[in-house]
Symmetry: C3
Subunit: 233 residues, 3 copies
């Protein structure tokens, strides 16, 4: 499953036509994390290691992709499934969705999900989830920043599409530059972050799509994007 | 008081029977921080230093303990008392509870409480509290992540016990490993955090309680924990 | 505009009478960020560089000022205008206010605003704003920590003044020490943060206003501040 997700995430990643990735699921569960049979004593530590390394690889891959990745959650997201939601750029959830890290119930603390949760939620909320395994409601997930939008179940498709269409109206190359820069500067102190981003703003302006956008705005017309990393003529 | 709190926190800490610590108070005030007489000019800078160092020691001790520490707040938590709430792993508050850092009123900025607040609250909320000394309501504290749950006063005991009982259903050794790992990885960059936690997951699986939990889940029975750090047989 | 804002922020900064700075605007827009004509191809990269460097300088200056800086927002704050709100110490907004980073619409990703947003908002909320350009309502901004208070439009002046008057009741030197310390410790690990602030608490107590405040409290009278960095007699 992790391999298949990784392949899907990377599929056609350089195509100009790929502009946004939506991760969704069929049925009442968004994702319930690892297959416990893979983690049982029938497999050795070397195999367990491989599973968790691949998992971390897929989770961190999401931030490295040049397009926004949206989690569209309609149901229960637990353990590594909750980590997957926390690892996406944007997360839209239906009101019935729930989020939990119940590893403690089976003697396997959700330590890897804790990496993503600890960076998406206030510490106390993350620790209560990790220590008790009890679920967060969709509204609580919104209040605490695990998801960025909550809508009634019958509006989930519409809202996800609204966000996606909005993203598709922008230049792919500008979004790619912006996403990579955002994650890069977030690991830096304030002064370094501003040094990096001030230079990126200047570089962004040298892109054909950077100048096209500003010219179109001044001329009060719709921009026509090249979606390429070409410099302006 | 700080010494007594430190001793209480460390009391029987290695006992298998100690599974969770709840910090609560009698009366309308949860904790109002330092005794100002200890900070007056009757004592010298050396004594003041000792007080603040001990305070920081107690606050950071909480994260190092092998069991979850819950603040059960029913009333006013101010200054180092507010810092104490912010320093716990989990905080449950009654609706009437309030949280403030009013040091500015007495010419002593809550700089040490600011360490815990700045890591528990959005920066603007923390600064408004620190600059004005005005209290946050329980609901505001919940919205901003200073506490993880707010309930009516007559449900405070019940809710705290519910969380505690949930915690007591898990393996002590697994929780201890999980708590230590959570705080450890939170100080690292994303890649290092995943390296650390992927290895911890593998180690967790070698614990007797790690394999017992998974086997019990697959066999659809209740797990029987050893609560020890024994490796699986 | 940036130069004028910088001059205004620094105006009379050492005066004892300057105790708080409020940044507000006339009309329906709080601030809409850069003048796009300055960023068009009519200007060269060197000029663009200068603009973004000055912008970062002004944004980071706010944290360095010895008095609290309040954004009083009544309307739309976009792009670098949204960054300005995020960069203030405190932000009070009217209910009709909105916050957006719509750079993607004109092919110029809000990378510099992203520095301030990424440090004020949960990551998913910041990224949805940056990727879609869609506005956050005042209530959403409050829930997610971008502003610290939201009030009806006709109470905005009153609320901002209430906060300001509260600030003016404190010692300028104590607030200055507290503000500088808060930002300084926030970039450190927990142990270092406590080492720094424990020492600052001791230093704070040696200030004339530090001892005056505590004495006044013990004597149950109003403190009389010197607002100076004088040591106690």
């Amino acid at each position: 499953m992790l391999q298949s997700l990784q392949e899907d995430l990377l599929h056609d990643i350089k195509s100009k036509d790929l502009r946004v990735i939506i991760i969704s699921a069929e049925g009442p569960v968004f994702c319930s994390g690892h297959d416990l049979k893979e983690l049982s004593s029938e497999e050795d530590a070397k195999h367990h290691s491989k599973v968790f390394e691949l998992c971390a690889e897929v989770m961190t891959l999401i931030q490295k992709l040049p397009v926004p990745v949206i989690a569209k959650v309609n149901g229960l997201a637990t353990a590594a499934g909750c980590q997957l939601v926390a690892s996406c750029d944007i997360a839209v959830a239906s009101e019935k969705s729930q989020f939990a890290t119940p590893g403690v119930n089976i003697g396997l603390f959700c330590s890897t999900p804790g990496v993503a949760l600890g960076r998406s939620l206030p510490r106390k909320v993350a620790l209560e989830m990790l220590f008790t395994g009890e679920p967060l409601s969709a509204q609580e997930a919104l209040m605490h920043g695990l998801v960025s939008k909550v809508v009634p179940e019958d509006k989930l498709e519409e809202e996800t599409m609204k966000i996606s269409h909005k993203i598709c109206k922008s230049s792919k190359s500008v979004l790619a530059l912006g996403k990579a820069t955002f994650y890069r500067q977030m690991t830096q102190d304030l002064d370094t972050a501003y040094k990096i981003t001030a230079q990126v703003m200047v570089d962004n302006l040298t892109l054909r799509d950077g100048q096209e956008g500003i010219e179109a705005f001044i001329q009060k017309r719709k921009p026509v994007w090249s979606h390429s990393l070409d410099q302006k003529k």
